[in-house]
């Protein structure tokens, strides 16, 4: 079991460096066991170096950077052991346009294997939908699911 955990951490470590580099177009990322001699009890932490910058004090990273680092880590865990469904509620709120593009492109890669349910206010994000759902309150205080669009990718502009 200790063996299994160490191996899992090693794998996720490799995956994380890969997803991080894809997300940030450079830099490095690692998952480390704080007490590698004690796999059964050790805490685990992550360490990242953003492109152009030195090793990060994680707390100093910006709002958008934190969201992307966390997303890279979750995708790394998915490479190890994909969850069938992934629900994301406005995780793109702090991302700039360029990063939204990278983030959703990575979601797209995983979407053949993982079912995504994503909530967003962002017009760029919406373009990545295979299916679009509108929620409104026609009647006061009552939610209504307005429509389900099965989007034909070529007709994006018609719908939006």
């Amino acid at each position: 079991i200790a063996e299994k955990f160490s191996r899992t951490i090693e794998n996720i470590n490799r995956h994380f460096d890969k997803t991080f580099k894809a997300m940030f177009e450079g830099g490095e990322a690692t998952v480390i066991m704080l007490s590698p001699e004690d796999p059964l009890e050790t805490g685990v932490d992550i360490q990242v170096k953003l492109p152009g910058k030195n090793i990060e004090v994680l707390s100093l990273t910006s709002g958008g950077e934190k969201a992307l680092i966390a997303a890279s880590l979750i995708f790394a865990i998915f490479l190890q052991n994909p969850s069938p469904v992934c629900i994301l509620d406005e995780v793109d709120a702090s991302m700039d346009a360029a990063n939204i593009e990278k983030f959703f492109k990575m979601i797209k890669k995983f979407s053949s294997e993982i079912q995504f349910i994503v909530i967003t206010h962002n017009k760029k994000s919406m373009e990545f939908a295979d299916t679009l759902y509108g929620v409104t309150m026609e009647q006061k205080g009552v939610s209504k699911i307005l429509s389900v669009h099965f989007k034909n990718k070529k007709n994006n502009d018609d719908i939006l």
């Binding site: 998952v31 805490g43 685990v44 979750i74 629900i87 509620d89 995504f116 909530i119 409104t136 939610s143």
Partner: protein, 166 residues
């Protein structure tokens, strides 16, 4: 394993029976502030057995029942949420192609759980989903404003997440 449909009735801002069918790939939900998008996420967590009302943004469990509006629409008597999963890959350890779980709650009573229309205990629901990665506190469900918690969590909390992935 895929989520096929979620049905809400009396849950938060869904007084009338509302069915939402989800597809493969990327499903995107949009809508104005306060329209009910995050309430759908709460419904998923609740149906999966979420025990903490705080993580559903409530003060007590009655808060999940539709409270009426100021146009005379009456509060609901109970809340129920059901989810239907495609189980052809048998990820859920039941020998059926489709699995439906349901949770229903009335004021001052305990929640009732169902698996494929048969009465079940909360712990049965929890153990059924335990190895699927779909649990009420799964790292794969990221609530609004919570994405940074993963990074800010302690080294022991991170350990728990990696253990689940093992």
């Amino acid at each position: 394993m895929k989520l096929r449909k979620i049905t809400l009735k009396g849950f938060k801002t869904f007084p009338r029976k509302t069915e939402i069918e989800y597809k493969e790939g990327i499903n995107i939900i949009i809508g104005p502030n306060g329209s009910g998008k995050s309430n759908i996420v709460d419904a998923v967590k609740w149906a999966l057995g979420e025990k903490s009302i705080k993580s559903l943004r409530g003060g007590n469990m009655d808060d999940v029942i539709f409270k009426g509006n100021d146009q005379g629409m009456l509060p609901s008597n109970f809340a129920s949420v059901s989810m239907i999963f495609d189980n052809q890959d048998r990820k859920l350890r039941l020998d059926v192609d489709e699995v439906e779980i349901e949770r229903a709650f009335s004021k001052d009573k305990a929640s009732k759980f169902m698996i494929n229309k048969k009465r079940a205990k909360l712990k049965e629901i929890v153990s059924l989903f335990a190895d699927t990665g779909i649990t009420s506190n799964s790292y794969a469900i990221i609530e609004q404003g919570k994405i940074n918690n993963l990074l800010l969590s302690s080294s022991q909390e991170k350990r728990v997440i990696f253990e689940e992935a093992a």
